[in-house]
Structure formats: C-alpha cells, structure tokens
C-alpha cells in the first residue's frame, strides 16, 4: 500500500517513542541514572509542584512553577512583539502589486532557511559586552558603560521574537491577501474611512490568520530552547531548557518525560481548538 512507508515511519519514529515517553513519565527515577522498570509513580508529575522536604513532607516548590511562568511570560511577550511588528508589515505587503508581493513573501521566508543557531548567534554578537550595538552606542556617545542586555530575559525575548517573526507574519499576510477587495470597496463606499475600514472590516475578517499567527508563535515559544540557552544564559531557563536538562545532567528522565508530555498535550489542545473554531466558518 502506498500509505505504508509514511505511516510506518511516522508511527515508528514519532508515535511509538511518544508512547514510550508517556510510559517513562510514569516510572520511578533511578538515582543512578535511567529508570526503574516495572515501577509506577506519579512523582514526575507531582514533582513539578511539590518536593519532599527533609522531614519527608510535601513542600510547595516554586522553582519549576517559576520556570513555567517565565516561559509563558516570555512566549507571551514574543507573541505580542511579533504581532506589533508583523501587522503593519503584512498590511503593507498585502496591498502591493502582485509581482512585488511574491518577491516580498520570498524575502520574508528566506531568513527561515538560515539556521536558527546562526541567527541567534548573530544576536549574541549584537547584544553582548563590546558587541556591535554597544560599540555603536559608545561611538555615538549615547552610552557610557555596559548595555547589560545579554544573558537576561530581555535578550531571550528579543531572540524569541526574532526567531518566530515569520510565523506571525505569514498567516496574517495570507489572510489579508485572500481578503475580497470588494468588501473593502464596499466599506469605503458606505462612508468608512481607511482606519474605520481597517477596524471594522479588515481586521475582523483576518482574525483566523491573526489567531493562527499567535498560536504559531506562542506554542513553539513555550517549548523553545535555543534562544533561552544562547541569549538568556543560565539565568533564563525556560521549559524547553528544563526538559533538555533532565536528560542531560539532571538525570531525571521521568520528570523530563512528564514535562515534555504536558507540553505536547497543551500544544495539541491549542491546535485542536483552533481547528474546530475555524473549520465551520470556512
């Protein structure tokens, strides 16, 4: 059957391992690394909030919660910032002549194909002490000492916005481009100025695209690990880094597995919600 290769590959390489992930998340951690097979424990999931204090009781542990909160916060900031940049850009692009539009879409997509590591690394060069931006500000006399942005949440936010900007831009652009221009004409005809047309007609009709963009930035932003690692230093840990750490030096596979699985469930839920909200409308 023609379908076989695809389904087998995806099934074996993705689904099955995810299943194993779930299994692992329910196992007990082996202090010497790895897991204790045959055990069952919800420690991984509860370990998110609680930990055993010295006397053995459960104590509320805010560490992981704060990491999660930070992830949500940073992903949220990245979403908002990329939206603010993307919306006017998409508005301009969508109303260009058709030939130019193709070129512009190509231009916007091109940085994509560049390695994410390289792109984030570029920001290190820009933001670090004696980096290019500092040099420029010093030369202009606008700054005296250190800028101090690198290895802070701000740097991570900049990196996240930068990494995911095209994901916000393209869905909004596509929505705008598909918009029936005659509806805009009708709005003008009835007395709506450009701004009121934008607010009452254009934006509401592009909501699917806008929401698509928001989801495409926020969800991956939650699980991002490159930007926080390179630009945030050790101080700005996000969920992605946390997961990564559990399989590295943290050696707590069940916990890492649980985190990954929770993230996966969140993403699937958001995707599903977006789909059922907009399927009937289209």
């Amino acid at each position: 059957m023609l379908l076989a290769p695809s389904t087998v590959i995806v099934g074996a390489v993705l689904i099955a391992p995810l299943g194993m992930l779930l299994a692992i998340s329910l196992l007990q951690r082996n202090p010497n690394g790895g897991v204790i097979w045959g055990s069952f424990s919800l420690d991984a999931y509860t370990g998110f909030l609680f930990e055993r204090g010295f006397s053995g009781e459960r104590e509320l542990n805010w560490d992981y919660v704060s990491i999660f909160a930070r992830s949500v916060g940073l992903a949220g900031i990245a979403t908002i910032t990329s939206f603010v940049i993307a919306l006017p850009t998409a508005l301009w692009m969508a109303f260009q002549p058709p030939q130019r539009r193709l070129l512009l879409v190509f231009l916007v997509t091109l940085p994509f194909w560049t390695n994410l590591l390289v792109r984030n690394y570029a920001w290190i060069l820009l933001l670090r002490a004696d980096g290019l931006i500092e040099q420029l500000l010093h030369a202009l006399g606008l700054l005296d000492g250190r800028m101090g942005i690198i290895y802070t949440p701000t740097a991570t936010a900049i990196g996240l916005t930068y990494s995911f900007l095209p994901f916000m831009l393209l869905p909004i652009y596509l929505s705008l481009e598909k918009l029936d221009r005659r509806l805009i004409e009708a709005a003008f005809d009835l007395g709506a100025s450009r701004w009121r047309t934008l607010a009452r007609i254009i934006l509401p009709l592009c909501m699917p695209g806008i929401l698509g963009g928001v989801i495409l930035v926020f969800i991956p932003g939650l699980g991002a690990f490159i930007s926080p690692e390179l630009l945030g230093g050790g101080k700005t840990m996000m969920v992605g880094n946390l997961i990564q750490a559990q399989f590295g030096y943290g050696r707590n596979w069940p916990f890492g597995a649980a985190l990954a699985f929770v993230l996966l469930v969140l993403v699937l839920a958001a995707t599903y919600l977006h789909r059922i909200r907009f399927r009937p409308a289209s």
Binding site: L3, F95, F112, Y162, P171, C206, L216, Q244, L263, R279
Partner: protein, 223 residues
C-alpha cells in the same frame, strides 16, 4: 480601486523596519565572517582566512558531511514516502479508504504539531530503550519524520487541484455571470451561497505555508 486608497500610513516604514530587523543580524554575521582578527566584533580587516580555517578543519568537515548526508537521505526518503502517501490519499484511492484517510492524514501531520523538544526526547528515550545506538541513522530517521508532512502538504494540495470535482458535491454557483450562458452552473438565486470565490489557492505558494519547522495544522484552509 488602486494605490492611494489602500495605503495605510506608517505601514511602509514598519515593513522596512521589519525586513531590516530580519536581515540585519544575518548580514552582519556574513560581513563579520570576513573579519581578519580573532576578536569577532572588532574589525581588523577583510580576509578569507577564517573560511580557509573552517573548511580545512576536520571536525567541521565531518559535521558538514554528516549534515549533507543526513539532509539528502531525509529528503529522499521523506519525499518518497510523502508522495506515495499523497497519491494514496487523493482522488478515488482516498474515497476507497473512507475514514481511514482522515486518520492517516492526521498521523502524517503530527510531526508538525509536536514540539521539537518533546519529539527529540521521545526519540532519545526510544533509542535508548530499544537499544539502538545513537548516531547518524537516528538523526536521519528523525529528520525523515519531519520532512514527511512538509513534503506531503504541498503535493497533496496540487493533487487536489488536479482532481476533477466529485459528482456528488453541488457545483459552486457563480455570482457574477459575465456571459449570459446558463450552462456553467446554477445561478445564485435559489441556492444559498456566498458570492466570494472558492478558497483554492492559486498562488504558486501552496496553502500550507509557512514551511519549516513549526506547528501548522494539517488542513489546507485557514481563512
């Protein structure tokens, strides 16, 4: 309705800023790669010296070879698998599969939705537990999985455009008849319909944009 009516003030400037923002870091890295001295952000002169160093370095060569090999392998395997799947899930073949078709499509689209980190650790666990050695083969397999939905969506979209519409669905009615000829479908009076054109993408970019590594719902209509 042309030009000035559709121009919103400030958007041009914003667009320019956005494009600069996107490109400047990359261009800077490229520019600095030609820097002579060891301090990357302190410009000491133009030189191709570092390119020579990079290309002659053994670890770099190995890594580059690995990357190219893996990329090619994943591309070939993934595109093959995706093409077969697209053929299987189109036209009459699709209808003969019934509900299985929808499930299969969901499965194929899954790699797009699953967060990279989750997939990565899952695969890591999988390999370790099954006892497979971690290495190039594993990466190839992982990349193939990601390639499959990216290849599948555009191919499927094109096949869909080429399919004749099935006779059971009602023909779309035409809201504006330039010709008085009544033969091309029922006019929009008795049939509830919206006069806007059908959503099939006619641009060269398939409706599955954006392509690379991120969640995109495996459906072809999004607006």
């Amino acid at each position: 309705m042309k030009g000035d009516l559709l121009r919103f003030p400030g958007t041009g400037a914003a667009a320019l800023a956005a494009l600069l923002y996107l490109y400047l870091p990359i261009l800077i890295v490229v520019a600095l790669s030609f820097n002579t001295g060891p301090m990357i952000t302190i410009w000491t002169g133009f030189s191709l010296h570092w390119y020579g160093e990079a290309l002659s370095s053994e670890p770099v060569q190995r890594a580059l070879t690995n990357s190219i090999v893996i990329a090619f392998a994943a591309m070939i395997a993934g595109t093959l698998a995706a093409t077969m799947a697209a053929l299987a899930l189109s036209g009459t073949s699709r209808t003969s599969l019934g509900r299985l078709a929808g499930a299969a499509e969901l499965l194929i689209g899954l790699p797009l939705v699953v967060p990279e980190i989750a997939a990565a650790v899952a695969l890591l666990m999988g390999f370790v537990l099954v006892g497979l050695p971690l290495g190039v083969l594993g990466i190839m397999a992982a990349h193939t999985v990601v390639v499959i939905p990216f290849a599948y969506l555009p191919i499927r979209a094109r096949l869909h455009d080429m399919d004749p519409p099935p006779t059971s669905t009602p023909r779309p009615c035409r809201p504006s008849a330039a010709s008085p000829c009544p033969s091309s479908g029922p006019a929009c009076s008795a049939v509830p319909c919206s006069p806007s054109s059908s959503p099939s993408a006619t641009s060269p970019f398939p409706s599955s944009f954006p392509p690379p590594a991120r969640p995109r719902c495996p459906s072809t209509s999004s607006a």
